[in-house]
Symmetry: C2
Subunit: 132 residues, 2 copies
């Protein structure tokens, strides 16, 4: 019995992605080039898991390029934790900064919802220091 393979449409359905996104990922090295059978891609079943990993990493704030580097070096045999930790260490401060900024925005907006100013010129929310 040969290995079960999937067409691109099936992969897309399984992974919850569009067909075009999968071709895009292949083109950009996030997926290995699938073998062509009669000109059509046949994917091994594990590509679905790989797409899941990509999805999780994206959610975690990595760019596709970062994910590509991560997967790539792991494909070459590097232990997952080394690459991942390096990437995570780099990304953590970025995330902290993002959280800080979002919170500042949130607070500003909360105050803005209560603001009764007639003009923006008068409003303390738009005073020079307010962007800090």
């Amino acid at each position: 019995m040969t290995e079960a393979t999937l067409g691109i449409g099936e992969v897309a359905r399984e992974a919850g992605l569009s067909v075009s996104a999968i071709r895009f990922y292949e083109r950009n090295g996030l997926l290995p080039e699938a073998e062509r059978v009669g000109g059509k891609r046949r994917f091994g079943v594990d590509v679905v898991r790989r797409l899941g990993v990509i999805g999780v990493a994206k959610q975690a704030g990595f760019s596709l390029e970062e994910v590509r580097v991560l997967l790539d070096s792991i494909d070459r045999g590097a232990p997952a934790h080394e690459e991942l930790q390096a990437l995570a260490a780099h990304k953590l401060p970025e995330m902290d900064a993002l959280i800080e900024r979002s919170r500042a925005m949130r607070d500003w907006l909360a105050v803005a919802s209560e603001c009764g100013c007639e003009s923006l010129e008068d409003c303390p929310l738009f005073a020079d220091g307010a962007k800090a």
Copy 2:
């Protein structure tokens, strides 16, 4: 004595923006069309304050289009607080969602920094539920 006016370079310096950004804002209706004197823009001094408002609003998470709408309706005489509150009310849940997501990412990354998994396949961080 006539009103003090500024050239685009002066405005840029005062506002801490690039000249091209200011032309861009004018083109896109965030600034009123400056009068041309000998083909060159002359801005009233209050444009600097307006640019400050735009900056604060951007920091608060508004898109330029949203800022344009806000300023536009205020220019038409609407009280600032009405437009602002409507916009803020719309934007607050978005910000809350952004904060939640960033926090989830941060937590995931923090765990990732400690993870000792050899392969991503084994790693609970990349299990199906991990993106939730």
